[in-house]
């Protein structure tokens, strides 16, 4: 019994870490640009699918990871210039609808290129599961935990300790003040989408070995990421990570202990609950810092 619980915990932590990364990119883009990017899940999928194709050419996994991240980062920047930038000044609702349009287009593109097949990616490191306390921990999970840790450290380092990070923060706090100092908000929006693309792809390539990859998995990943972010209050980086982990563990335990049909329902229930009872987010209520 204890081993089964530990096993569910490992699965939950792995799932949760994936949601955390997606939530992190959503929250960062939202803080920086005010845009809720509903195409974030698609960046994850395209990253994973590109990795599948690149890996097919015999490229080593590390190179596959890097190239895929770079390509989707470019895609993110390109899409920002082609859509968000052209609509600059439009309302947040219009921007939201644009990202929905992007999401649908990207899914269509993925369908055209990769079809409806289910793909898988090889794990980053060879070797079987590690047995911890009688439960099996997939080595790929450790890579995913590492990705969350690196992403978080990177975000805190960038925003807390670099001049450019502070310039971005300044533009979040006070747009007029930032523009008067010469900070170009359009450039910041562009860079936010480059980062969102790159991070999304990193998440996609990392989860590929665990979840299998299909062209249409982006929607659900986007929803999970959004739910995780909403639990954390939508503008709180730490909250997004906790929200993601919480969601992953809840999903894992409810599908393991009650019924596997519950897995996707959980996030919808939480989403409704959060929106109905605490629109500003559960953890957001006690948050003290933005970004």
């Amino acid at each position: 019994m204890g081993e089964q619980l530990l096993q569910l915990l490992f699965t939950g932590l792995t799932l949760g870490s994936i949601y955390s990364i997606i939530a992190l990119t959503l929250v960062t883009t939202f803080n920086v640009t005010g845009i809720l990017n509903l195409a974030q899940g698609e960046f994850v999928v395209i990253g994973a699918l590109l990795a599948v194709s690149l890996q097919g050419t015999g490229m080593p996994m590390i190179a596959v990871f890097i190239v895929s991240v770079i390509l989707v980062a470019i895609l993110g920047g390109l899409l920002e210039r082609l859509t968000i930038y052209r609509a600059r000044g439009a309302s947040n609702l219009s921007m939201l609808i644009i990202t929905i349009g992007l999401s649908i287009s990207l899914r269509g593109l993925a369908l055209l290129i990769w079809g409806t097949e289910t793909y898988s990616l090889p794990a980053f490191s060879e070797g079987g599961s590690i047995i911890v306390g009688g439960a099996a921990l997939n080595p790929q999970s450790i890579w995913i935990f590492a990705l969350v840790a690196v992403t978080l450290t990177g975000l805190y380092g960038f925003f807390g300790h670099t001049f450019w990070g502070k310039a971005v923060k300044a533009s979040v706090y006070n747009q007029t003040g930032a523009r008067l100092q010469g900070i170009n908000l359009n450039t910041i929006s562009f860079l936010a989408f480059v980062a969102a693309g790159g991070l999304g792809a990193a998440a996609g390539v990392s989860i590929g070995p665990i979840t299998m990859v299909t062209y249409d998995m982006g929607f659900m990943l986007g929803v999970k990421g959004f739910v995780a972010a909403a639990i954390g209050g939508l503008s709180n980086v730490g909250g997004a990570v906790i929200g993601g982990i919480l969601l992953g563990i809840l999903e894992s335990f409810s599908s393991g202990l009650i019924s596997s049909g519950l897995k996707d329902a959980i996030s919808m229930i939480i989403l409704l609950g959060v929106l109905l009872f605490r629109p500003e987010g559960i953890i957001g209520a006690i948050r003290e810092r933005k970004i």
Partner: protein, 238 residues
């Protein structure tokens, strides 16, 4: 140094500036006076690039800058210390000052600490508060920080929008004396004020605005002497 010709600016349907022309000479301190709603902030905001004019021309150092964005204007050497100060309250005093030098950060990084020291010499009250959150400062210190941040871009033209607003007389006097010091270092200054008395004390020339246009202009001695202006627009200045 700055020439404005037949400027027209709208906020939606409201015309805030109409057919306004003016000239600012290099090295002078120009005070712009006028009641609430006269269009003073719109004038400065338009020069700084925050608002797009519908008519007219703005020429700075012989080059047209009409319609440029704020991030471009500040690179030409014009800095606006806005009405609401717009400091970054959640960032430290030091970060605020650093960000004032945003557009020259890459080239001038090694000298920025020196520049910040200079600013702190100019505003000694900010010394020792470098790592405090800007939002935790008193109103007077926030205003000094806003001016200091504006100076970090090394402007040739510094525009201040009602720096004295809400501040104690002693602090106002300190800020005005700092503006005089700055002028001596060669910075051209446009000072928008409702605090007529303080502004007239430091100004070389004066403009009076009403409903988006200029009603009076002259050097400060003449304006102070003109009793009709005193009564109609400025209250008693002495």
């Amino acid at each position: 140094m700055l020439r404005i010709k037949n400027l027209g600016v709208y906020h939606g349907y409201v015309q805030a500036i109409r057919e306004l022309s003016l000239e600012v000479k290099e090295g002078e301190l120009l005070a712009v006076l006028g009641a609430n709603g006269a269009g003073k902030s719109t004038l400065l905001g338009t020069v700084a690039g925050l608002y797009k004019p519908t008519a007219g021309e703005i020429i700075f150092k012989g080059k047209p800058i009409t319609g440029q964005k704020p991030e471009q204007v500040v690179r030409q050497g014009i800095s606006l210390v806005p009405e609401k100060r717009e400091i970054f309250s959640a960032l430290s005093v030091l970060d605020n000052l650093m960000l004032g030098a945003f557009h020259r950060y890459r080239k001038n990084k090694p000298v920025l600490m020196n520049d910040i020291q200079e600013i702190l010499e100019l505003f000694p009250a900010l010394k020792g508060r470098e790592s405090d959150q800007a939002g935790s400062l008193s109103g007077g210190l926030q205003q000094m920080l806003a001016i200091g941040r504006g100076l970090m871009s090394r402007p040739a033209l510094l525009m201040l929008d009602e720096p004295s607003i809400g501040l104690a007389p002693l602090v106002v006097r300190e800020i005005m004396s700092i503006l005089v010091k700055l002028k001596k270092t060669g910075v051209t200054i446009i000072l928008v004020e409702q605090n007529t008395k303080s502004a007239l004390k430091v100004a070389d020339s004066v403009l009076v605005m009403e409903r988006g246009g200029i009603t009076h202009s002259g050097n400060s001695v003449d304006i102070i002497a003109d009793s009709s202006i005193q009564e109609a627009y400025l209250g008693r200045a002495r």
